[in-house]
Amino acid sequence: MYILYIPVNTLLKILTSANNKSLHLAAGNGLLDRRLFLQGGLALGGAPLLAATTVAATPARPDWMNRPGEPFSHYGQPSPHESEVARFASPNRVWRNNGVSWTPLHRLEGIITPNGLHYERHHNGVPQIDPDAHQLLVHGLVRQPLFVSMDNLLRYPLRSQICFVECGGNSNAGWNKTPSRAEAGYFHGLVSCSEWTGVPLSVILTEAGIDSTAQWLIADGADAFAMNISIPMAKAMDDAMLALYQNGERLRPENGYPLRLILPGWEGVLNVKWLRSLKAAAHPIMARNETARYTELLPSGKARMFTFTMEAKSLITSPSGGMVLQQGPGLYQVTGLAWSGRGRITQVEVSADGGETWAPAALQEPVLPKAFTRFRIPWQWDGAPAILQSRATDETGYVQPEREQLLAARGRHGFYHYNAIVTWSVDKAGSVSHVYAAQQEQSGADLGIDAGWD
């Protein structure tokens, strides 16, 4: 079952009894001032707005208080009651080691993705690498080609950065003519956000001595696909990281153990996992995954290539597709995530009337560059059908596009880099589903997209 919502009746009373109710209205159809949640006077601060539907009668001394609890554990696991908070895997139908798994964004809170729920894209499975038998080779147009062992790499000064990694193919069902019915995370969840810790790539490159003619760095992974791709030297020398840790612990195997590249804000495929070598070169290698794939075909027949930056996107994670506003009309918290590969999110606006009017949401601290930003806004649902949307703006002034705008600019066969505004429709019964803002697109056969996951 889904997370359900309990309106906060106390707050509602305060709101409705206020002399000037419009004082709190921030936009049409019940969107309220984002600061309402912060005002202590409303006694709302910590009050949970999300709760289970039926709260069983609580005995004075529940069973678990009458016997000793479980012993210590070496590595803690989530509560068995949270077993539905899981990645959703979509592997190739024959070769099950190829495909993706999605982060359940709609079941998570805050900005950090738990390590076991970080999205995955593997081309031929997860290698089980012995770190003592793994080295990084830096070669090509360098003064001194180097091998760096994992033990030695751990002795370099480390630094941490919280940033998202997003697959270029995230949200690609948005190119479909029929709106996807998948839950929010299972169609936008090829993005996750972690605190990565490692060695700035520039330190190792400087040690090897990069030749001035080397404009590119060709990275190779140690998986069965021997993933390879080209990275501009400027990015490598700027904020790229040789990541060893993820959210405080060593990388998980499915996230590149023992070593991966992190290129903050750039398309996931460039963040090479199981990193094994870096070759400084004058030109890109034109690998299969930067030519035949991860390029975006335009209506002209030409294709965009080397589209590195993940542009600003936002998504309401709650309420979102598949959820129900079970408790009927009342006050709800609309919340979601926004991120931009170009820097900080400066504004997220929310609309409850299909984009007629917009209200600024509260951005929860910390608001970090190239990281998830959590946004929240109170919404008083009057019980009538409503259309919820969110729209992100980043510090470059870039505004997340309408779907129509994106389609007009890119056509339908780009497959990658879909970042349009997401629209959730709430019906009278409180059921939330994914729709497109332009009504004429919502009927007709499911026409699919132009390519599979490869």
């Binding site: 081309h123 000064p157 290698i285 030519t291 335009l298 027949g301 294709a303 290539m305 066969h413």
Partner: protein, 177 residues
């Protein structure tokens, strides 16, 4: 200007790590990399550049490649590369500007040597790395032949492969951003 707290912290971290934070940027790390010799590099470096640089000795034709393809590839990519659970590799009917563009090797790939690079590093899925260089040339030749880019008996090798003209060579706009 007085150094602020964070730059002081940085200096002390660098000092602890035994680093001279002077002007020379090469001194930014503890320099723990170990010199790599030519042989070790060559055994690691299997990448093939789009101009063919890195292509090994050996060669093969489509006639030879068809045998390997039918044994090792057909189960996923279908007869004649028409696609199945694996990508469609040849036989595009639709143009890139049509409603259902088919991004086959012949219709979409800009460089022929990429095909050698990819097959040698990743294929076949169950035994990656198991093909000899000549088998890879032969498979490459077969896929190019299926895409009507070379005749069936033309050997692909380090000289001939980079010469294959790919129809979509100019089909890409480098955004670089």
């Amino acid at each position: 200007m007085l150094p602020n707290k964070s730059s002081l912290a940085l200096i002390s971290v660098l000092t602890l790590a035994g680093i001279d934070s002077g002007a020379d940027p090469t001194a930014a790390g503890p320099n723990l990399g170990e010199p790599a010799d030519r042989r070790a590099i060559d055994s690691h470096d299997r990448g093939i550049m789009p101009d063919g640089a890195g292509l090994p000795a050996g060669g093969g034709t489509a006639v030879q490649g068809k045998v390997s393809y039918d044994n090792l590839c057909l189960s996923c990519h279908g007869p004649g590369g028409l696609g199945d659970s694996g990508d469609q590799l040849a036989g595009a009917q639709m143009q890139l500007t049509d409603e259902w563009p088919e991004k086959t090797i012949g219709a979409y790939w800009p460089y022929a040597p990429t095909l050698f690079d990819f097959i040698r590093r990743a294929k076949p899925m169950a035994q990656p790395g198991s093909l000899t260089d000549s088998e890879v040339y032969a498979l490459t030749a077969y896929l190019l032949y299926l895409n009507e880019l070379i005749p069936e008996d033309r050997e692909m090798n380090a000289t001939t492969l980079p010469e294959v003209k790919m129809p979509n060579r100019e089909g890409f706009i480098q955004v670089l951003d």
